[in-house]
């Protein structure tokens, strides 16, 4: 066996050991943990900004926050949530779980894995530091449309550009690593069509990442040269076209929103069968539906641009293509429901979050369909209705998905069961608060309240107050989540190897907590799930 870094580095002091352990680690479990903590930290950072914004919106008028600063926080909130919370959260889960689920000893490129992670704190540090710079942070929204971000962007825009480049590199390297791992390190008896759905959805997500993150990098590079080197990609004065920015951005942007949800689909597809104690209904159709969604996501970007004055034929094309995506999405929802149908269901916290995911994500899908109708979108575009739509797909979608995964797998990670009672309280708080916060935005949006705005007219006051109260509860519920996670790490009822009665898959054959090194030799697939596994069975640890 090859000597490992942690075996050969001389141990100087406890602190030094701690630093090198985390800084130099190439262990997929350590790196997964790092990603998850980064995501969690940024979740609270971006969440605090959301709290500040909702505080300002509690009542009409200007109370607490300067409009210019509001715009900066709005931008930072969006960027951090998308690139700093949801994406690293999913990558963390992938790092922990993919090798465990396919019977691999580690990721295929462990040192690259370390590098991909350690770029991120610097990228986000750079981004956040722009809040304290002269002229303020970027204030043009997470979509950074030109010319707002080129001609009119504050000086800190250049730090934003560098930050985007860094996280783009990190994502692409991470994606390459995941694909190579899945193709090469799978235990030989597991065929592609045997892979758990979390692995499948991540495989497809990784391809999306490799294909669109470079396009984002191209867009910000064009911005950079437009800003400083005299090119005119997005400037009409020099023969360029600001509208082209939107085309390039959304060519990245729509696949990006699927990057933000596909792993969540995978998580729901793991959890629901476990707690329904049935096999996943329609495994093959799930895989094909995921691939279809990913393929279609490249030809629908125009639905973000209906209001830019596109010709009729183009509007029709993007409208039909967008509505077509609802078909494979519908297949998935159908399969989840069919899996639960006549199952012997129990409602532990991961299952609650998964069911919340299915129901609320579907509501987000419906508002998406409304937005996909060109004439309707002329009214809804750039209103709070769009905000309601994407928060319904992202909060109960991507975020609930991640939380479901944490509750589901944390016994395997820590060896302790979380506190079920607190978990349930967390769920009910979160699910009620999410609806309180975001449902009223449908109404204010339909009634004409614009998005990205610091103040609003009086008729929207009541709904906004409800949203703000919901947001406060939602924020508190996540503090409870942090408490639950910390409590689980520090102790709790011992978790069994299989953890969940209905669990199936390779990750449930290694002891809890999972030892540092697992599957040094490829395991047999499918595993024999021993329902009464004896916890004291000796397991080889290195």
């Amino acid at each position: 066996m090859v000597a490992r870094a942690e075996d050969v580095i001389p141990q100087r002091s406890a602190l030094w050991a701690f630093i090198t352990r985390w800084l130099l680690t190439t262990n997929h479990k350590d790196i997964g943990t790092l990603y998850l903590w980064l995501s969690f930290t940024l979740f609270f950072t971006a969440g605090a900004m959301a709290m500040a914004m909702r505080l300002e919106l509690f009542e009409p008028g200007l109370q607490f926050i300067e409009p210019l600063f509001y715009n900066q926080m709005l931008t930072m909130h969006g960027l951090l949530m998308v690139f700093g919370v949801v994406m690293p959260g999913f990558v963390g889960l992938a790092n922990w779980q993919i090798p465990l689920m396919i019977g691999a000893p580690d990721m295929a490129l462990p040192r690259l894995n370390n590098f991909s992670f350690w770029i991120l704190p610097f990228a986000f540090g750079l981004l956040i530091s722009s809040l304290f710079m002269d002229g303020g942070a970027p204030n043009f929204g997470w979509t950074f449309y030109a010319p707002l971000s080129t001609t009119y962007g504050p000086p800190s825009t250049d730090f934003f550009i560098l930050g985007v480049h860094m996280m783009g590199i990190s994502s692409v390297l991470g994606a390459i690593n995941i694909i190579v791992t899945i193709f090469n390190l799978r235990t030989p008896s597991m065929k592609l069509m045997d892979m758990p759905l979390f692995v499948w959805t991540w495989l497809i997500t990784a391809f999306l990442l490799i294909m669109v993150m470079p396009v984002l990098a191209g867009a910000v590079t064009m911005m950079l040269t437009d800003r400083h080197f005299g090119t005119s990609f997005f400037s009409a004065a020099g023969g360029g076209d600001p509208l082209m920015f939107q085309h390039i951005f959304w060519f990245f942007g729509h696949p990006e929103v699927y990057i933000l949800i596909l792993p969540g689909f995978g998580i729901a597809s793991q959890i629901i069968p476990t707690f329904a104690r049935k096999k996943l209904f329609g495994y093959h159709s799930m895989v094909y539906a995921t691939a279809a969604i990913a393929g279609l996501s490249f030809v629908v970007w125009g639905h973000h641009m209906f209001a830019t004055g596109m010709p009729l034929a183009t509007e029709l094309f993007f409208m039909y293509a967008t509505m077509l995506i609802a078909v494979p999405t519908g297949v998935k929802v159908f399969n989840w429901v069919a899996t639960m149908w006549r199952g012997s269901m129990t409602f532990e916290t991961p299952m609650l979050f998964a069911i919340g995911f299915v129901i609320l994500f579907t509501i987000g899908g419906f508002s998406g369909l409304m937005l996909a109708l060109v004439p309707a979108d002329f009214q809804y575009h750039d209103t709070m209705f769009v905000v309601a739509h994407f928060h319904y797909v992202l909060y109960p979608g991507a975020i609930f998905g991640t939380m479901a995964a944490v509750y589901y797998w944390i016994p395997k990670w820590t060896g302790h069961m979380y506190d079920e009672r607190l978990g349930k309280i967390h769920f009910w708080m979160a699910v009620i608060a999410v609806n309180l916060t975001f449902f009223p935005m449908h109404f204010t949006g339909l009634a004409g309240m614009p998005r990205r705005i610091v103040d609003y007219s009086l008729q929207f006051a009541d709904f906004n107050m409800v949203s703000s109260i919901g947001a406060g509860i939602l924020g508190l519920s996540q503090v409870l989540f942090l408490y639950i996670v910390v409590k689980t790490i520090r102790g709790g009822e011992k978790a069994t190897t299989q953890v969940w009665e209905g669990a199936d898959g390779l990750e449930w054959t290694v002891p809890s907590p999972a030892p540092r090194h697992t599957f040094e030799t490829p395991p047999e697939f499918p595993p024999v799930m021993n329902r009464d596994a004896d916890e004291r069975t000796p397991v080889s640890t290195t």
């Binding site: 295929a108 490129l109 001609t151 692409v172 994606a175 390459i176 694909i179 190579v180 193709f183 090469n184 390190l185 490799i210 294909m211 669109v212 993150m213 470079p214 396009v215 990098a217 191209g218 867009a219 064009m222 800003r227 400083h228 080197f229 005299g230 090119t231 005119s232 990609f233 009409a236 004065a237 020099g238 023969g239 360029g240 076209d241 509208l243 082209m244 085309h247 390039i248 060519f251 004055g309 596109m310 010709p311 183009t314």
Partner: protein
């Protein structure tokens, strides 16, 4: 084990090439976008080239009976100190017939300023039916302080203009040709030439 290594290396290379290729694709979108807009004319961008009147004489032989209204609009870009307006606001023209109108520009600033007009046609898909024999937008204009100028546009609309169209508008936005901040004064002439170059190559 060695087999896996080789396979891994192959996969890493293929995937990296894909990533770099997609970066190239992002840049390829720029000319593709222009070509696409030019072919379909859906962006309201008119062709940046003058049409040679001798090649259109054929059309001129048989101006059609169909008449449409063309409206002329003018805007000035940010920080552009010129007065800029069309001399006529609308014109009834027959398809296939060459017409001329003038735009008026006057530099209100106390120093010389160079301007570049960027045309746009509404509705966008009419743009490819509007042909310019001569246009001030093909070149940059430089006006001394207080100087003014009448600038001609000579154009015709071809016979293939979709039947449902009765009115179209031709709008010009006049931009100040700017020296990006941070570039030393001595480079400014190079800068002007090169931004003109970008323009020319984009409109090709």
């Amino acid at each position: 084990m060695n087999d896996t290594r080789n396979n891994q290396r192959k996969h890493v290379i293929v995937l990296s090439v894909l990533a770099v290729g997609m970066l190239g694709f992002a840049y390829a979108l720029v000319p593709l976008y222009d070509v696409f807009c030019e072919l379909t004319g859906i962006n309201g961008k008119t062709s940046g080239r003058a049409v040679d009147p001798t090649t259109v004489s054929e059309v001129l032989l048989k101006p059609s009976d169909r008449e449409v209204t063309i409206q002329f609009l003018a805007q000035v870009g940010n920080g552009m100190p010129w007065e800029f307006r069309p001399t006529e606001h609308r014109l009834k023209v027959r398809l296939g017939e060459i017409n001329t109108t003038n735009y008026y520009a006057r530099n209100r600033a106390a120093q010389a300023v160079t301007g570049q007009a960027v045309p746009s046609v509404t509705p966008g898909y009419a743009a490819k039916h509007l042909h310019k024999v001569e246009c001030f937008c093909f070149t940059q204009q430089r006006l001394e302080a207080g100087e003014d100028l009448y600038m001609p546009v000579k154009f015709y609309i071809d016979d293939d203009l979709p039947a449902e169209l009765h009115t179209l508008s031709l709008s010009y936005t006049l931009f100040k040709v700017q020296v990006p901040k941070g570039i030393p004064e001595t480079l400014s002439s190079v800068q002007e030439a090169s931004s003109g170059g970008t323009l020319a190559s984009n409109q090709k």
